[in-house]
Symmetry: C2
Subunit: 304 residues, 2 copies
């Protein structure tokens, strides 16, 4: 079983020029949940000044209907965010820092060590009221520094594992991962931390996203983030384009005989609604071509 | 070494609304060749009525300058096409039929057996004046019939191998291939025909193109078709979108430490010229994001 987390309500919408209404966000989250997604990153409790698109995080969390078969994760940058988030009773907090000093400074105005100290305080403050995941940005490379050493990533994973977090995400913030690197790094992380939930979070900036997911699965990873429509990016990461595309991954995994529990037809309906919702086309290919089992009428072929 | 064949001057341009001038086509082919591509499918000797975009096949072949390090392949549908093609002294003829009866009828107005008989006559007519490759459309599925049996594909490969062709291409005409199918079929073909050149030709209609290329390499394939910019399609194959993208593949193979002999920077210049040439955007991601080793200035990050 492969567990997909749809991060489009957070990683996707934070990058959109158009700010959706709370109604639209709640409908998007519930549409994803009704497609069978077991996890959704629903919003972010960052400063509304930094990400005005997600300023209504409390309202969205209060209004979205909750079910036991879908965990709602929320991004939290600091203690203030954790306070706001915990009042909304999410299933999990997703904390974030970058393993690259220059990217962490550009994104969070701190050194990685300062971020670690701050997040350690957030984890202590959370006190078990929600599960905690830590996302490690730039785990497969930094747009300012280039390659990131696997040892550096392993050190950060170990430091957070020692704090008792539920999981870590190895984030390919600007699409610098490639399959042999995915295999090498994730094999080492899984081998050192057999009881830690490891999630891979890829962007498709250089077209390698799906290949990286498939390689992660070969290496033994079972948790992945993706965005329906392949929307998303990072406002502080130049060259970043969309997250890997949820419906294209679900389709590919179906082809490979891997179960996600997701109803592809329902998910495709959500994906096909995105261009109207966002005011622009999105990346997904399967929403356009249809699943591979879709058959056409040869007498209609020339008109297509 | 992985040998890439750029089919954009043929499979790409035959699907464009805009017909390029012979000047533009010659410049495209020479630009690809100067990027280090060892093989280019330069044009098609189909009826100008069927594909008016390539009606100037003779002129293009007469004007393009030839070098010993780049083979020019031309598509040939029948004996009339072979006559026209051989007068232009290409390095190789690429013949084509579909392993799916309904797709062959829709595309070529013949049964597969009728196509085989006609192509056998073309091969005899060629008489060694050029190498011959046979492209087997719908080898990974048919948009009208669905799954295609591996045994059917293996039978067609064997029939052509018995005629002494240099190579066969297993063509994923409408993007229905997926990695485990690629591995299964190509492993069987390679094992039955160790001395036959086997080329994989993928379309990216469902986002699986690059993953399929990487899986083909794992299975032992060394020859692949792709289009710079990911342009292309099939006018008789509904749901088909672009071919796999050459520059994204070359970039991915570089990341993986696999040599193609292609200069990515030069190839990216060709790719970046395509939107102006064709009048629309193209699919390639690396032309937009840059190679993964491209570094950005953190002080400029927010402006990006």
């Amino acid at each position: 079983m492969i567990f997909m987390c749809d991060v489009s309500p957070r990683d996707g919408l934070q990058n959109e020029a158009r700010t959706l209404s709370a109604d639209q966000k709640v409908a998007l989250i519930e549409g994803l949940r009704d497609s069978g997604l077991p996890r959704i990153e629903a919003t972010s409790f960052v400063s509304p000044k930094a990400i005005p698109q997600l300023a209504d995080a409390e309202e969205v969390m209060a209004r979205v209907s909750r079910t036991s078969d879908c965990e709602l994760v929320v991004l939290v940058p600091n203690k203030r965010g954790a306070e706001r988030a915990l009042a909304c009773k999410p299933d999990e907090l997703n904390l974030v820092m970058s393993v690259s000093e220059s990217h962490n400074r550009a994104n969070l105005k701190m050194t990685p060590d300062e971020s670690f100290n701050a997040l350690r305080d957030v984890i202590a403050f959370t006190g078990g009221k929600a599960k905690v995941n830590v996302s490690l940005s730039c785990s497969f490379g930094c747009p300012f520094e280039g390659d990131v050493s696997e040892e550096a990533v392993l050190t950060w994973v170990s430091r957070y594992a020692a704090l008792g977090v539920t999981g870590v995400s190895l984030c390919d913030t600007t699409g610098m991962a490639y399959p042999s690197l995915v295999r090498s790094l994730t094999t080492r992380v899984l081998s050192q931390h057999p009881n830690l939930r490891v999630t891979l979070h890829f962007h498709n900036s250089r077209g390698l996203g799906l290949s990286n997911v498939l390689e992660g699965i070969r290496a033994g990873v079972t948790h992945f983030d993706a965005c329906t429509g392949g929307i998303g990016g990072c406002p502080y990461a130049p060259g970043a384009s969309g997250n890997v595309c949820m419906e294209d991954i679900v389709h590919a995994l179906q082809c490979e005989g891997l179960e996600t529990g997701i109803n592809l037809e329902k998910l495709l309906l959500v994906a096909k609604g995105l261009p109207r919702l966002l005011g622009h086309g999105v990346w997904g290919q399967v929403a356009y071509a249809g699943p591979r089992k879709r058959l056409f009428d040869p007498t209609q072929a020339k008109q297509q």
